[in-house]
Amino acid sequence: MSIKVTLPTAFTRHTDGRKQFDSAALNLPGLLADIDQTFPALSTQIKDDEGKLRRFINIYVNDEDIRFLGGETYAFQDGDEVMLIPSIAGGC
């Protein structure tokens, strides 16, 4: 089983310029552990002092916010496209 993870350009300074990588993680905690191992500098950037994912990052699975899918309990499916995006919004 493999998922495809896409990063914003702002993160690529911590991944030797890579914007995409594959992961065998089964869920979000697994993906974060994978990032800990593979891209330790990125891990520091996306987590706060308590080791939790910063609240300014949104994670999408295919076209859906992972929070609508169960968040950390969501089991990645083979071929899922996972995106990390800083939360930015328009509107008033």
């Binding site: 914003p8 950037q45 939360s87 919004a89 328009g90 509107g91 008033c92």
Partner: protein, 426 residues
């Protein structure tokens, strides 16, 4: 007139790092949204009430407190919209000191978005962008299309596919490229962050967002000046992304810091539609984080289910002693009608939200009748007429004869036909 502020740059409010001026919206280190910081000391004593009042009747009278790049001289007369006393609406909802800040008549595209776009595009030009764009629920699309046309910039605008037809037409007419996205605003917004990452375009609410958002402060400056250089007790503000309510507060704090108004506690109240109320829910539950929602409301201009400024807005509202409320689609339509019938102001669905929430805040005793309260109307009803479909019947045409007209009125009023009397008879 020199429009340039003395000094400003991007700053991260989370970690405190500064980044000069560049098209950048999030802190590269902690990813928090960036804000524009000013050297307010530099304008203390020179930015006076007299100088402001001698300036043009638009947002550029406050240019010293806006991020306008050196050498830019914006000339579009945006903003300085009416602040009207709402005695009739006030009587109906139990408010003795209610004012309406009416951005339904903001120039040039009839929403408060004209303010933020004017500031954003001044920066887009300074950064050398030839193409600008935005993700939009409609009003922003209209304003970016209109103002970029005037400035000779190309515009590419992305909107949710189900946007109101009037807002689509009001974008296309300016010659902008409009892309309808098969998804809601949050999908559109996410796509725009990816496009801004790949294309060298100035997205007003993505990579130009810190500058863009500062334009909202002008609402706060105008409220204070139009109240006779004093602050209100309460402000009621519609919330989508949660930016406007915070920027009005920032404006008030700057005016206090510069000695232009007396310091006083102002309570901020947020208004949302129940069908998309993530910030209102956070205020009511005391949550630090926003629980995203899938929007389902006729108030499409407020339909942001995952608002980036939501956590900060909820905290600010609670800290001010204010509150947030949300209202149903039925109440939104009633709010539109009530504002039109009492004050002669036709607002869009977002204004229906704000009006209905304002009424509820008085009814619930959260705002007291004699307090000075300003409710912010941010858009024009001509753009969302579909919300009123079926509310008004178009009656039959009447023959152009006085007798027919008399009969028609009697029919409408349910009055029986009077006995005939000879004209001039005693």
């Amino acid at each position: 007139m020199n429009y340039s502020c003395n000094w400003y740059e991007l700053k991260c409010n989370e970690c405190g790092k500064r980044f000069g001026n560049q098209p950048l919206s999030a802190c590269p280190d902690c990813l928090a949204p960036l804000e524009v910081a000013y050297d307010l000391e530099a304008v203390r004593g020179t930015f006076t009430r007299e100088k402001i009042e001698a300036g043009p009747a638009n947002i550029w009278r406050y240019a010293a407190l806006l991020p306008i790049p050196e050498g830019r001289q914006p000339d579009l007369p945006v903003g300085f919209t009416p602040l009207v006393r709402a005695k009739n609406l006030g009587r109906r909802i139990g408010a003795n000191n209610l004012y309406i800040k009416n951005d339904a008549v903001c120039f040039p595209t009839l929403s408060f978005k004209d303010r933020v776009v004017a500031v954003a595009l001044a920066n887009a030009q300074a950064f050398g962008f030839e193409t600008v764009g935005c993700s939009s629920t409609g009003n922003l699309a209209n304003s970016v299309a209109a103002q970029s046309a005037r400035l000779g910039l190309k515009a590419c605008i992305l909107v949710p596919a189900d946007l109101e037809p009037a807002k689509i037409l009001n974008t296309l007419v300016y010659g902008a490229r409009l892309v309808r996205i098969d998804g809601n605003y949050d999908h559109v917004n996410r796509l725009c962050t990816q496009i801004a990452d790949e294309y060298n375009w100035g997205f007003v609410n993505v990579n130009l967002r810190p500058y863009y958002a500062e334009g909202s402060k002008s609402v706060g400056y105008e409220i204070a000046e139009q109240l006779g250089w004093r602050l209100p007790d309460n402000v009621v503000v519609p919330m989508a992304g949660g930016s406007l309510v915070r920027k009005i507060r920032k404006a008030f704090n700057e005016l206090i810091y510069l000695g232009l108004v007396e310091a006083k506690p102002v309570r901020f109240f947020g208004a949302q539609a129940t069908g998309c109320s993530p910030i209102s829910v956070a205020v009511k539950t005391g949550a630090d984080d926003i629980e995203p929602q899938r929007p389902n409301t006729i108030a499409r201009s407020l339909a942001i289910g995952n608002p980036a400024d939501g956590p900060a807005a909820a905290k600010m509202i609670r800290d001010s002693g204010g509150w947030a409320e949300d209202v149903s689609d039925v109440e939104i339509v009633s709010g539109i009608q009530e504002l039109a019938e009492t004050e002669g102001i036709f607002t869009e669905t977002a204004g229906g939200v704000t009006t209905a929430v304002t009424a509820r805040l008085y009814a619930d005793g959260r705002i007291l009748p004699d307090q000075i309260t300003v409710t912010c109307i941010t858009g024009n009803g001509l753009k969302t007429t579909d919300a009123l479909t079926g509310r008004y019947q178009q009656d039959r045409a009447v023959r152009p004869r006085l007798a027919d007209f008399d009969a028609y009125l009697r029919e409408l009023d349910g009055v029986a036909e009077p006995e005939l009397t000879a004209a001039g008879a005693n």
